[in-house]
C-alpha cells in the first residue's frame, strides 16, 4: 500500500482511551478507492469505535488519522432520532446533501424502498429504516462509505441483495468502503481486506489469510474459519441445487 492518491483514509497506530481504559488501540489501516475493507471482531472489540475515529467523530484519539476526502457517506450502527421532529424519508435523504427528486428516487429504488419516500421516518419498520439509511449514504455518491452493520434487521433475502448492492456500488462509484459486520458468511465473498479486532488488531489480510490465522481461530473458533475458506473458494466454482459442484462449461 503506497501513499498514492487512492488512499481515502489512513489510521496509523490509532486508539482511544476512556477513563484510563483503552477502548481500542494500535489500529493501523487504510481504506483505498474501489476496495472494501471489513472490520470483524466480537462485541465490544472496538469496531464501531475504530470507524468513528476514522470518521472524525471522536477527536481525542491517539496516533494519527489522515482523511483525504470529505465526501463521506455514513450508516451508523445505532441511530437515535428524536421522533418529535416531523421528518419524512424525503427530508431525511437531503439531510447532509442537496439532492434532486430524481436522485432521491434513484437511491431509494436501489435499496428497494422508493415507495416510502413520503412516509414519516418514525413510522418505518427497523428493516425499512435500515434500507433508507443505506440509500441516504449512497445517494450523495461519496468517495468513502462507512457502513456499520448496514443490514441489521433486514430480512434474509434482502440482506443478500443489499450486500450485492454494496459490492456493486463500490465498483460503480469507485469508492472505498469500510464495512463492519458480524455476518462472516455474507461479508467475506465481497471483501478485499479483513481486519480482525479485539481491542487491538488481532490479524489482518485477505479473507483467506485471516481465516487461517491462529488468533482468528482462537477468537471465532474453527467453524468460523471454515466459513471464511468456503467463501474464498466460492469464486472458482458454483454449487448445483443439491449441493454438488457445478461442472464448468
Amino acid at each position: 500500500m503506497s501513499l498514492d492518491k487512492n488512499t481515502l483514509v489512513r489510521l496509523k497506530d490509532a486508539g482511544i482511551k476512556q477513563d484510563e481504559k483503552w477502548l481500542v488501540q494500535g489500529v493501523s489501516l487504510e481504506v483505498n478507492r474501489g476496495k472494501i475493507i471489513t472490520l470483524i471482531g466480537p462485541n465490544g472489540s472496538g469496531k464501531s469505535t475504530t470507524a468513528k475515529i476514522a470518521l472524525g467523530i471522536y477527536k481525542n484519539y491517539e496516533g494519527t488519522v489522515e482523511k483525504f476526502t470529505n465526501k463521506i457517506g455514513y450508516v451508523p450502527q445505532k441511530i437515535s432520532i428524536d421522533w418529535t421532529l416531523p421528518l419524512r424519508v424525503a427530508d431525511f435523504m437531503v439531510l447532509t446533501e442537496n439532492l434532486s427528486a430524481d436522485e432521491i428516487e434513484e437511491a431509494l429504488s436501489l435499496t428497494g424502498v422508493n415507495h416510502l419516500v413520503n412516509k414519516n421516518l418514525g413510522n418505518l419498520s427497523g428493516g425499512e429504516f435500515q434500507r433508507v439509511l443505506l440509500a441516504r449514504a449512497i445517494s450523495k455518491k461519496p468517495d468513502l462509505l462507512v457502513l456499520d452493520e448496514p443490514v441489521q434487521g433486514v430480512d434474509f433475502t434482502g440482506e443478500i441483495a443489499l450486500y450485492e448492492l454494496i459490492k456493486k456500488i463500490s465498483e460503480k462509484l469507485n469508492c472505498g468502503i469500510l464495512l463492519i459486520s458480524h455476518d462472516l458468511h455474507m461479508v467475506m465473498s465481497a471483501t478485499d481486506h479483513v481486519v480482525c479486532l479485539n481491542g487491538h488488531v488481532c490479524c489482518s489480510g485477505s479473507p483467506i489469510d485471516v481465516a487461517k490465522d491462529k488468533e482468528y481461530k482462537a477468537l471465532f473458533g474453527d467453524q468460523a474459519s471454515q466459513t471464511l475458506s468456503i467463501y474464498e473458494h466460492k469464486h472458482d466454482h458454483e454449487h448445483t441445487d443439491d449441493g454438488k459442484i457445478k461442472q464448468k462449461n
Binding site: L55, N70, I72, I79, S80, D82, L95
Partner: protein
C-alpha cells in the same frame, strides 16, 4: 384609528414573530426550553448593567446571555451535576443578582414589571430598527447554518461524520438564542420569552409533517398570537406579553383538535 405606540408595538411584534418562529422550532427539536429560560432570566442582569453603565440595553442583554451560555458550557464540563440543575442554578442566581442590583439603582426610575412581562408602551422607533435589522441578521445567519444545525439536530454523529461541522453551528445557534432574547425582551418580557419560542412551535408541530412546514406554521402562529394578543391588550388593558402568550396558548389548544381528527382518520 390606532395610536402611534400601538402601531409601533404591532410592527415590533411582527418582527419578533418572524424571528421566534424558526428559532422556536429548533428550541423544541433540540429540547432547549429550559436553556432558553435560563438565558432569558439572565437578561435582567443585562438590563441592570446597561442602566448603570448607560449602555445599549439590547446589546448588554445579548452579551450577558452569551456569557451565561459560555459559563453553562464550562460548568457542564467541570461538574457532575445534571444539566437541568445547572440551568436552574444559573437562571435563578442571575435573576437574583439582577434584582439585587436593581435595588442599588434606586436613583433610576425603573419599571420592573414591564421588564418581566413586556410593555408595549415602551417600544420606541429606535427599538423597531433594532428588532428589524437584528431580526434580519438573525434569520440570515440561521439560513446560513440551517443545514449543519438541522442535520446535527436529527443526528449529531451523521452530521459530524459527513463533514458538516455541527459544533460551530451549535455555538452560532447559542448566540442567536441570546440575540432573540435581547430583541424581544421589551415586547414579551423576560419571564415569557421562552413561551413565545415554544408555544407557536408546538402549535406548528401539531399541524405539520415536514420540518419546513413546521417553521412556516410556527411563524404564522407567532404572527396570529401577536395580533390577537396586542388587540386584546389594547381593548382589555392587559400587559402585552401575557396577552400574546395567552393568545398563543389558545391557538395551540385549537391545533390539538386537528391532531384528534388526523388520528381518527388514521384509524
Amino acid at each position: 384609528m390606532f395610536d402611534d405606540f400601538f402601531i409601533r408595538a404591532l410592527v415590533a411584534g411582527i418582527g419578533v414573530a418572524f424571528i421566534t418562529g424558526p428559532l422556536g422550532c429548533f428550541v423544541v427539536w433540540r429540547r432547549l426550553s429550559y436553556f432558553g429560560d435560563t438565558l432569558a432570566h439572565s437578561a435582567l442582569l443585562g438590563v441592570t448593567i446597561a442602566l448603570s453603565l448607560e449602555f445599549n440595553i439590547a446589546l448588554s442583554v445579548f452579551i450577558t446571555a452569551s456569557v451565561i451560555a459560555l459559563f453553562l458550557i464550562q460548568l457542564q464540563k467541570k461538574t457532575n451535576l445534571p444539566g437541568d440543575a445547572l440551568l436552574g442554578l444559573l437562571a435563578h442566581s442571575s435573576l437574583g443578582i439582577g434584582l439585587v442590583a436593581i435595588g442599588f439603582l434606586s436613583f433610576i426610575r425603573f419599571d420592573v414589571m414591564g421588564l418581566l412581562f413586556g410593555d408595549i408602551l415602551a417600544v420606541t422607533t429606535n427599538d423597531l430598527l433594532v428588532i428589524w435589522i437584528g431580526g434580519i441578521l438573525i434569520l440570515l445567519t440561521l439560513r446560513f447554518i440551517w443545514k449543519p444545525l438541522f442535520a446535527s439536530t436529527v443526528n449529531y454523529e451523521l452530521a459530524e461524520a459527513e463533514g458538516l461541522k455541527p459544533d460551530i453551528a451549535k455555538a452560532i445557534f447559542t448566540l442567536l438564542m441570546a440575540a432573540v432574547i435581547a430583541l424581544s425582551i421589551k415586547m414579551i418580557g423576560l419571564l415569557l420569552i421562552t413561551g413565545m419560542l415554544i408555544i407557536p412551535a408546538a402549535f406548528a408541530r401539531n399541524l405539520s409533517d415536514t420540518p419546513k412546514k413546521m417553521v412556516l406554521f410556527s411563524i404564522i402562529g407567532g404572527l396570529l398570537s401577536v395580533f390577537l394578543g396586542l388587540f386584546s391588550s389594547l381593548k382589555l388593558n392587559t400587559p402585552s406579553g401575557p396577552s400574546i402568550i395567552t393568545a398563543a396558548l389558545i391557538l395551540f389548544v385549537i391545533s390539538l383538535f386537528k391532531i384528534k381528527q388526523t388520528i381518527k382518520l388514521k384509524n
